[in-house]
Subunit: 486 residues, 2 copies
């Protein structure tokens, strides 16, 4: 699997100098992002593309090739696969569309593909996919990327990896993450996933440098395999799956040729495997920051804190509806809070009014986080002065020190929030429901890990107990044997 | 009520040259936006603020004053009210905080306020509010606005009016609407609403130049009055109310001193009165455009249309979950669609693939809208080329011509969507769930109007029938009388 993400040599089959050629865009983007491996353009004429040397077949390339990216008409794909097999290429990304998603003819083509690849021991991604983007190794075989478009993605690398069945959703996630504090590690677009599927990738991401795994699925190839692999992973897995309704499932089927799955079963299996099912595709890029930049939410008691009164009530509604609790503050804590400045209200939600100094903000965070009366914070700072942004930066530090999380919602216009996120690189949310959802998901994942740990300990003790019993039985037996031997 | 929104002369009581004086910001903003009426600053020293003439009491102003805006310490407010009463001012906006929301002392002050205003026949807004912003008459008594901050708001006037109980939410709505195609008519921040409440304002907006009414409420002063007034209004009323949970209601109480209301009762009363209850504060600014820029959704059959396959399935899930239906297209329509270009899929959802021309887009819209097989559209155009934006502009025109609505969702990053909205002034949504919600709400409001009309006709016929019966009875009586008379 490693060769899909970190190839040392790549052949782009179908890259030529014809106008609008998509393969050429792959050669160009690899050049542009300064990919360190060797790249070969394969086309009928054997022509080079800029600095990328061209050949008419992979068989003509002298070097060993780790990975072939295939972007030619569907009907020619199987011949190409055979050539790759002869060359000894074991990893292929088939980007061409026109297979099982396109009806019976395509299905037949896909069958031939499977036979050819099985014959040569080839593992492949796709067809009908974009393949792989790896920010750390600066490798990307997504077609159609204009040099310059994703510069930031490769410069600001991160730890969130995505398995995405659709190019459109992949592009949306990559674009949207640019404003977020969580950055991208790897993105895989798996299309029809006739060979390599989401379960194989979950298994790969289990041990790599990813800290959060996001998935967009239109269908699940083999549910049992996915959930078994997911259970072994100790990283949050966030999954959006199309097909909650039969109409949605039908639409997804025509797009990437999957089977409709029973949604209720998928839902309960997710819960058992500790996978977090998402309600909205925006959660694919808004939620990871809760895991990458904040400690987990260990309990349910949340303190809400705002300089803009009405949002306290709004947030309290969402907190209670989500199953979390409004922390109840002791008189001691309330008194301490009152001493920090001119608070309008020191019981939860805490309404600090406008015009507080940065130190007053910090004092309030400190009182709450050290009180032992809360498990997490929902700060809602209306950013009307720079001092408020500075205070948000401090709260991120304090949360890490106290090992309690904050989901920060800035109640300003989306445009303003995005500019703050870009400028200051702080983990903030764009709506109260999104912030509460982040707390809920953090807590749920924490509980999943606890339960898993508990089960592991139970298993350990059961095994120890079994061992001891055996030992004891053996001892008894040898004790009872001894007299006879005497 | 008109004098609150279109005063010819205004006294700002508490506006002075002291540093950070909030009243002064009102004088300045009125100057900046070129308010046509006269403005007087009232302060102890009687000093002028820039060009705004100053007096030490309203009694010293020679001109008749339509409206007083009071922004002084709570304990001095009642004396000021008496002075206003002596001057003959009948409309007052009390911005000062420290009344019923602040505990027993404040409650006593509010009581005195009520007595004084009743004595002089004064109607007042607040206390603890911002008052009125009217884009058309260029009047605004919100304190704390920096000249330049809201220039666009007053230049690009609109038809959406808001009743908002919180300054913070008001600011969020005003800021967020700047990127929307629906613009602001009036905003009223009503705070504790000890006198004028939301029902009075709904009644006022019933007959003014508003086309949509948005409300943010922390509590309802008099439910029966509100719902009676709302029933008489033939404009969509969108309402977000805090307090779905008891914790939320408690928090709201401490903010603007309201009573907790039974949420389930509020919910069902909204439905009966045709008010649309919102799930998120962002709906306050995202939904109005569905009413101001699109015809109503008359039926449930929706066609989804995308150039980015996966979003078809995502949208179908939301459509079915919302109670709407995926339109079923006839073979004839599907064939026509296939002729327009290289479609990936011509059944609903329609997947057009990338690279379509503007004319092909228009042809597809036209085939769908003229088919008689759909009631509304959910176009999901991924904007990777300008031709796609140009096509969106065309769909807005076609929808108006065919009297069928489209809720357009652009599946690009929020930053990109906002810039498209700003540049092209088109009604687009930022998530599939938001677009489906807009269709759902449009249809629900349409049904409400139909039902209302039906009830009106039933009433009319019942009355006609009653009249006829009476007439007939009288005729019979006179007929039966006649022989006796003969």
């Amino acid at each position: 699997m490693e060769k899909f993400f970190n190839p040392r040599s790549v052949a782009v089959i179908g890259a030529s100098n014809s106008p609008f050629n998509l393969g050429a865009t792959i050669c160009n983007i690899l050049k542009h992002i300064d990919f360190k491996g060797s790249v070969y353009a394969i086309n009928r004429k054997g022509e080079s593309i800029g600095d990328t040397p061209g050949f008419s077949s992979v068989l003509e390339v002298a070097e060993k090739i780790d990975l072939a990216v295939v972007i030619i008409a569907a009907k020619h794909v199987q011949d190409t696969i055979r050539e790759c097999g002869e060359k000894g290429i074991k990893n292929i990304i088939i980007q061409s569309a026109g297979f099982a998603e396109g009806g019976p003819d395509g299905e037949a083509l896909q069958k031939e593909l499977d036979e050819a690849s099985r014959h040569y021991g080839i593992r492949y991604m796709g067809p009908n996919c974009l393949g792989v983007l790896n920010t750390h190794s600066k490798f990307c075989c997504f077609f159609g990327i204009v040099p310059g478009m994703y510069d930031d993605v490769f410069e600001k690398t991160g730890s969130v990896s995505y398995i995405i069945q659709s190019g459109g959703v992949g592009a949306l996630v990559i674009d949207s993450l640019q404003a977020e504090v969580s950055k991208i590690n790897k993105v895989v677009s798996i299309g029809n996933k006739a060979d390599i599927d989401e379960a194989d990738l979950v298994d790969y991401f289990k041990d790599d440098n990813s800290s959060v795994i996001g998935m967009f699925l239109e269908n699940v190839q083999c549910g049992r395999k996915l959930f078994e692999k997911a259970k072994e992973v100790d990283k949050p897995i966030l999954v959006y799956k199309v097909g909650r309704t039969s109409e949605g499932a039908k639409a997804a089927m025509s797009h990437t040729a999957g089977m409709a799955n029973n949604d209720a079963i998928f839902d309960s299996a997710c819960r058992q495997a500790g996978m977090i099912r998402l309600n909205s595709i925006s959660e694919l890029y808004s939620l990871p920051k809760m895991f990458t930049s904040m400690p987990p939410l260990r309990g349910k008691r949340i303190a809400v804190f705002t300089n803009s009164g009405a949002f306290g009530g709004i947030a309290a509604d969402f907190i209670i509806s989500s199953g979390l609790e409004m922390a109840s503050l002791s008189d001691e804590t309330v008194n301490k809070l009152h001493k920090t400045g001119q608070l309008f209200n020191a019981s939860n939600p805490i309404d600090v009014g406008p015009g507080l100094s940065k130190q007053a903000f910090i004092d309030i965070f400190d009182i709450l986080l050290s009180s032992g009366e809360i498990d997490g914070l929902l700060p809602i700072p209306n950013v009307w002065q720079d001092v408020v942004i500075d205070s948000i930066v401090e709260i991120v530090k304090l949360c890490r020190a106290y090992k309690k999380p904050a989901a920060i919602y800035i109640p300003n216009a989306p445009e303003r929030i995005i500019s703050i996120k870009n400028d200051r690189q702080i983990p903030v949310f764009e709506s109260p429901e999104e912030a509460v959802r982040a707390l809920e998901v953090s807590h749920r994942y924490h509980n999943h890990l606890l339960k898993k740990e508990l089960l592991a300990w139970q298993k350990y003790y059961r095994e120890r107990a079994k061992e001891e019993r055996t030992l004891y039985r053996n001892m008894n037996q040898s004790m009872s044997l001894r007299p006879q031997a005497l």
